[in-house]
């Protein structure tokens, strides 16, 4: 099969095909960048949400957890922890987060551990707001179930 293809044909597919794919990719990227604010409800991205994202990164939560399906597979998905542990109610979830973060690490022997991060009440509140905001992103119906 490859006998009929010459070096210059292959070279042309590389440059032509590559450029073509790159151009489509750029166009779609442009469109996506315009759609993400709407799909992620950027208008609800308060200072608290932004601070929460920074705390999420500074404490490397993604080194154990996935969020929106990306990260590590050692601990539960957190995109929908708002629904799972807070019943989609902000008050309930925030109270849960305060007690959860304060209780770490749990002392069940040999259960996987989450460290104690010594965060202030306000910081945990920001993290909660960040997780609530994330739970409302339009991710095409993902995750499929409440268990993440």
């Amino acid at each position: 099969m490859t006998e009929r293809i010459t070096k210059s044909m292959a070279k042309n597919i590389y440059y032509g095909g590559g450029t073509f794919a790159l151009l489509i990719f750029l166009a779609l990227t442009f469109d996506t960048v315009h759609q993400i604010p709407k799909r992620s409800n950027q208008q609800n991205m308060t200072e608290n949400v932004v601070a929460g994202k920074k705390l999420w990164e500074d404490n490397n939560c993604v080194g154990c957890h996935t969020i929106v399906g990306e990260g590590a597979y050692y601990a539960p998905e957190l995109m929908n922890v708002f629904q799972r542990r807070g019943g989609a109610d902000e008050g309930t979830f925030k109270a849960y987060m305060q007690s959860w973060m304060a209780a770490q690490p749990l002392d069940t022997p040999n259960r996987r551990k989450m460290p104690q991060f010594n965060l202030s009440k306000e910081e945990v509140d920001s993290l909660s707001d960040f997780l609530i905001w994330t739970s409302k992103v339009n991710a095409n119906e993902w995750p499929p179930t409440i268990e993440g």
Binding site: G18, R39, E57, E70, P109, P115, E147
Partner: protein
């Protein structure tokens, strides 16, 4: 060795292999912590082990690619390297930066590390694979720039071949797409979108060019097939890479907040992504069949063929398993992803480094015909140990992934993440076992360097 400046490749190869041993060691520590949560906790929490594991992987591959480049560029361009001294300085700078970063991870709590390293000025840390402190990221940019400068200056003054063109295109792409590591928008979804510009466009576009170029170089050397023929194959492979891999980025945009059209674009384009990997198999086996010489370094050719096959399995087959949107709905972010991540990185990139080391190292050590038959036999044993170990590890993770999906995501009788993981203890034990086999294989590989030459 035709050019004395090729010698600079040697420390790069040696250090890459040492880092690989470290990577695997940390992998095993994680495998134990997966089962016994109190192991090393709170001394080294899981996220730290994982950072060390994956960052060692990235850094070792960069060392490997650099070593491979410094070895092949003088031979391809038929001229000495522009500045061997710069290459050695770069080596030490990168080594010190790499070691300091790993020590930072291990001995400074991450939140403190972010403060110490100016992360508040330009936040870039705390994202998967890109956890490095700002000074390290800047260091990587400088190291890569000095490396690119050296390679480009050498190519400019020497012969230009298809291999050098493809290689330099890949390296430029590597440098350009790393710059997205510095762009961290406040919107998590936007952040994730551009994060993939580094991660996916590295492994499934630019690095594939580097992989193709190194594979082509080694095949020319050990089969003696003429260049015209090799060039055609190389172009064909990278053409398919570009056509499928760029738009294939869409397979990460299904369920993360990006628009619906990616469900189609990502599925269709990435369904073609296994093709370049399959062509690599045809390439390696066709060149072997049509070979003009019988090189005494047989094991180098074995590695080259192994890279093609294992790369196809890990990237092509295991990638295809979860690359169609309706399937990815259920597999997204499970142990199945980890299974694919392991076999693809190993099969394509770790193995191409082994291929190059296996071909070049004997020459750099004054054995133009390869190592002794006895040493090659030991190396062949290590080849099988590592390959079987990685396949076993991947199969174990795949089973774990399927069970996890059935537990958490299918039907109405769902159980939670932690409960599901606990029920997987047995299979995680098996994963750890195969991990030990991989480590034993690597140690056997190291041993092959010290097998005495037979007196001729």
């Amino acid at each position: 060795m035709k050019y004395t400046s090729q010698m600079v490749a040697k420390p790069y190869f040696i250090f890459a292999l040492i880092l690989l041993a470290g990577e695997i060691l940390f992998g095993l520590l994680m495998a134990v912590q997966y089962l016994y949560g109190d192991f090393l906790f709170p001394l080294i929490p899981f996220n730290v082990l994982r950072m060390v594991h994956t960052n060692l992987l990235i850094v070792l591959l960069l060392f490997g690619f650099m070593g491979a480049t410094y070895y092949l560029i003088p031979e391809e361009t038929e001229t000495e390297l522009w500045s061997p001294k710069l290459a050695i300085i770069t080596f030490w700078v990168f080594l010190v930066a790499g070691v300091a970063t790993i020590l930072g991870y291990l001995f400074v709590p991450y939140a403190e590390l972010t403060e110490l390293t100016f992360n508040n000025l330009l936040p870039t840390m705390g994202r998967e694979f890109l956890e490095q402190p700002l000074p390290t990221k800047v260091g990587i940019v400088l190291v890569v720039l000095s490396y690119l400068l050296n390679v480009i200056m050498t190519i400019v003054k020497g012969r230009k071949t298809v291999i050098t063109t493809v290689l330099i295109t890949g390296l430029l792409g590597l440098a350009v797409f790393f710059l997205f590591a510095f762009y961290v928008p406040d919107n998590l979804i936007m952040d994730k979108f551009f994060w993939w510009f580094t991660v996916h466009l590295w492994v499934e576009a630019t690095w594939e060019l580097i992989l193709g170029a190194i594979l082509a170089f080694v095949l020319i050397k050990v089969t003696g097939v003429d260049r015209e023929h090799i060039d055609k194959w190389l172009y064909l492979i990278i053409a398919m890479t570009m056509v499928s891999g760029i738009l294939g980025t869409g397979h990460h945009f299904f369920y993360m907040g990006a628009p619906e059209y990616w469900l189609w674009v990502g599925s269709i384009a990435s369904a073609v992504e296994p093709l370049p990997f399959f062509l690599m198999i045809l390439f390696a086996y066709t060149m072997t069949r049509e070979r003009k010489i019988q090189h005494d370094n047989k094991i180098a050719l074995t590695w080259a063929k192994g890279t093609a096959v294992m790369g196809f399995l890990g990237a092509g087959v295991w990638g295809f398993f979860h690359t169609l949107a309706p399937v990815n709905m259920f597999t997204h972010g499970t142990q199945l992803t980890a299974a694919h991540g392991h076999l693809s990185f190993y099969g394509a990139y770790i193995m191409i480094v082994f291929t190059m080391v296996s071909y070049a190292m004997p020459i750099l050590r004054g054995r133009p015909h390869g190592n002794s038959q006895k040493a090659q036999k030991v190396e062949l044993t290590s080849f099988w140990m590592m390959n079987i170990g990685m396949i076993g590890l991947t199969l174990a993770l795949s089973i774990a992934g399927i069970v996890q999906i059935l537990d958490q995501r299918v039907g109405t009788e769902l159980i939670g993440f932690m409960e599901s993981q606990e029920s997987l203890a047995g299979i995680f034990m098996v994963r750890a076992g195969f991990g030990v086999l991989v480590l034993a294989g690597l140690l056997t590989y190291f041993y092959s360097f010290f097998v005495k030459e037979e007196a001729k």
